[in-house]
């Protein structure tokens, strides 16, 4: 498994983990009889996003250190990595663009900020998971 592929696995697990953390924080704060839109989602959202970035970076560094123990490990990316990355990003962008229509609909309907903010975060998460998943699919199954 190439270093770049390992990085993608770390990113996928991090994205899913931080979103699960976010959902736990928000839904865990729901109290009976209180509308969910009253739950403070801002800080959990900021924490989840920051955690995603930090864990992805730290995870990448740790993988680099562990991989560095193997003398044959290749750290540089090549045209295959670039190709898979480009294809994954294009599909991820497409998913994000379509998901944004839902956010636009919520804004037009003047929905609560809670739903708009959560829709944006969900859209970004789904797009990232699809993008990373597509790249990993190409690494595993070939293209």
């Amino acid at each position: 498994m190439s270093f770049t592929e390992k990085q993608q696995w770390v990113l996928l697990v991090t994205i899913l983990g931080s979103y699960a953390f976010y959902l736990q924080m928000v839904f865990g704060a729901v109290e009976p009889g209180v509308p969910i839109t009253e739950v403070s989602y801002l800080w959990p959202l900021i924490w989840a996003v920051v955690a995603t970035i930090v864990i992805a970076i730290v995870g990448s560094i740790l993988i680099g250190i562990v991989s560095g123990l193997n003398k044959d490990e290749d750290f540089e990316s090549d045209e295959r990595d670039t190709d898979f990355d480009r294809r994954g990003e294009v599909i991820g962008y497409l998913v994000f663009s379509i998901a944004m229509l839902n956010v636009l609909g919520l804004a037009i309907a003047e929905a609560d900020h809670f739903w708009i903010g959560n829709s944006i975060y969900l859209s970004a998460t789904v797009a990232s998971v699809v993008s990373t998943g597509v790249k990993l699919f190409f690494y595993r199954r070939g293209y």
Binding site: S2, D72, D74, E79, R80, D81, G142
Partner: protein
């Protein structure tokens, strides 16, 4: 309409004929990762024309001596 096909190759056989060259050595000479050579050999990745030429040159072979595109996959209809 031509159906999508995959380019086949003889890299593995040619490596052994060339002093049992390792995948890592070939990868270094070509300028790609060893995993990419593995993927190309297994038919999981079709390299760019530039990398294909570099592989052929490293193995001292013409391009079509390393890579092949099966005849039955060509479509001359409408040509």
């Amino acid at each position: 309409m031509a159906k999508p096909t995959k380019v086949t190759n003889s890299i593995r056989r040619l490596r052994f004929l060339k002093d049992e060259m390792t995948q890592a050595t070939l990868a270094k000479a070509v300028g790609v990762t060893r995993q990419t050579i593995v993927a190309i050999e297994q038919g999981k990745y079709s390299p760019s024309l530039e990398v294909a030429f570099r592989i052929a040159r490293t193995l001292d072979m013409p391009l079509d001596g390393v890579f092949a595109y099966p005849d039955e996959d060509f479509s001359t209809e409408g040509a």
